[in-house]
Symmetry: C2
Subunit: 454 residues, 2 copies
Amino acid sequence: MPCRKLTVIRLNFIQLVQILSCSVGNPQSLGQQPITFFREVLSLCDHPNILDRPQTKELFSADAIERARQILDQLPGRSTGSYSPTQGNKGLRETIAAGIEARDGFPANVNDLFLTDGATPAIHTMLHLLIRSKQDGILVPIPQYPLYSASIALYGGTLVPHYLDEAKGWGLEISDLKKQLDDARSKGITVKTMVVINPGNPTGQVLTEENQKQIVDFCKEEGLVLLADEVYQENVYAPDKKFHSFKKIARSCGYGENDIALVSIHSVSKGYYGECGRRGGYMEVTGFSSEIRKQIYKLVSVNICSSNVNGHIIASLVMNPPKVGDESYETFRAEKDAILSSMTRRAKILEDAFNSLEGVTCNKAEGAMYLFPRINLPNKAIKAAESVSTAPDAFYARRLLEEKGIVVVPGSGFGQVPGTWHIRSTILPPEDKFPAFVDRFTAFHKKFMDEYRD
Amino acid sequence: MPCRKLTVIRLNFIQLVQILSCSVGNPQSLGQQPITFFREVLSLCDHPNILDRPQTKELFSADAIERARQILDQLPGRSTGSYSPTQGNKGLRETIAAGIEARDGFPANVNDLFLTDGATPAIHTMLHLLIRSKQDGILVPIPQYPLYSASIALYGGTLVPHYLDEAKGWGLEISDLKKQLDDARSKGITVKTMVVINPGNPTGQVLTEENQKQIVDFCKEEGLVLLADEVYQENVYAPDKKFHSFKKIARSCGYGENDIALVSIHSVSKGYYGECGRRGGYMEVTGFSSEIRKQIYKLVSVNICSSNVNGHIIASLVMNPPKVGDESYETFRAEKDAILSSMTRRAKILEDAFNSLEGVTCNKAEGAMYLFPRINLPNKAIKAAESVSTAPDAFYARRLLEEKGIVVVPGSGFGQVPGTWHIRSTILPPEDKFPAFVDRFTAFHKKFMDEYRD
């Protein structure tokens, strides 16, 4: 991941400062605690020998014990050590399908689900499948999560960019989209796919239902596969916004299996759970011909081999957490609410802090785990960056790291309108350290501006 | 995995027979129990909240508790939920490097290790890196594990086959290797890599030290990268054979970092542990230029993202199991010995059973988890197969499935000398069911021969 590169910069000046990583959406590395119920179930599935021991009832909740038994019954040899089938174990897929149905109010088919090691292999599989040559184009929002540009380069396709409108809260303008599509087609590029990240990464916006409908209509009209990266679906902070899956939007527009090809990608790495290291997730693949479905199956078989069963288990837990009346429910609810309400507060504090800085503007933190403020860098700073052959925003980020030990990702890593400069910062430093983090950032920015103000 | 295809054949005739899968090296799906110590540590790493509870001491061994603490101390945020760095956490890599040193008697460098989701992503990464076009050839033994042919096809390279000599216990003849290499080069193929699987899959041989030295010399002379698939390193049954890693052989020949490029691949899926569903493993990459090393790092970053931390943990356990004096040692030793000695017995029983069948010859089961008997099919059977457009060994395997519910893989899935026919069967049915399995197989073969004998 390109965003990790900054951490290997030689830190000559800051041996005394504690490094604070705001570059990666990796909450547990910064002290976020895992959801107890999820970990209880995983722990018991790992070591089922203790399921019947009396002490286990004292250490684990009754519904976690019950859930572990149910899951083990679904695994070959009742073991997490057995290979899973190519699409993942059917019982776990049934649980996830039920969770999608409960979320969307539309049916989900267990045969449409592929359980994966997080979102990354799902994105790789689909891009690998959809790219045959340089002539195949993928519409990607700019700014974008760099996994897309890297994978498209790896598989030899062409990234067709369309810019999100910063002035309109990183909204997606269909007219611009159409322009970019026509432009690419006029150059002989076959555009087959459109990527949407909602809630947005790095931009943190949550699309309106109306905008989502326009996108679905656009993909249907233009015959595009809609690749919906929905890994931040639980991370919505704006009270007037709500996550809707693109499949729900498509179905509520009356579009069925034959009208639009849609891939919805989810992961256990984000949300309130933040289980990045576990590598769990799924993709829901609808609207493809049986021929293409076979190719997806084949590619998953060859490419990923079977993915890790514990990742599948936690994906099933995320889509079917404790319910009212379960022994774990109150604890689960309290843990989930504490994490999400803290994220909401931290997002707002950071948004306000950025907007209070000279020359910095920052859109509302509606969702995901990031803010992407625009930094109007003085010409003097731009020239100083050029003199060391560094992008101006990378120059700014590097100085921030060197002086304050804060790691953020320069906007040039995600793409941005030429001549504008941004950084991406997570909202993940722990809440008790947040004021100090904001103070350090603010002090750095003031000093930087004092040094470089035109 | 192509070997799974058989399991989806429509089973019209055998609704009454229990299916016995001998097609995949998936021991825990057939009832092999996991190693208690490994699962205790994983379970505690998943749910560290219980580490300090008094009941935990009653449920878990003291050294598992201690090991879990050590491992958690090495993880960012003390959590398996944090992303691991691209190569895997350094502490876990140090443990694995120490395990390699203890095994080989030669140093292992922590910077040479990449922790992976099992062997498959390691093989994919290296083949992806080593193949630029159809002109790039990879020397692969035939018969071979089909992941190699599938990956080479996927990345657009050319498989350069060399045949293992069945008459010499599936030995590898350097003269034949040289002939195949020269032949490919004369056709304009750039051969850059040689794959060796030791112990062999599907053929079950364990290479002699002398043969390994010849291979290392050959790769050095010809400038080939040696890709050593060593996932069955713990599965050696022949009392006169011993596993030696290719790195140990190379170093003991006096070849250092600058003499030969070597990739050693290991996995937690095989051995006595059989933890397939966990997806853990590593590759040790030595002898590459710093430029290529950077490319490997880049490809791992883009391709695999970080792999699952629990898979890394179990890879570290496999390379550093309990030692004499540890509380778990006696149990660990007993579990390991029971599994390996049972595999040794089952391998011998199956080898003898195959050799007792009319027209069947089977090499010694020296290692791995498979036997690959040659079946001299009668012309009548070959014609019957042709009449239904099926390879003769697939015809035989299908009849075995339909009549006795036994799933094996036809030799044509692995490649074989044209005109010879084989099947691959695992040795993994549980020992108490082994006599019945052998009886079912024997009865099938007799009936088949009675039907088709010329």
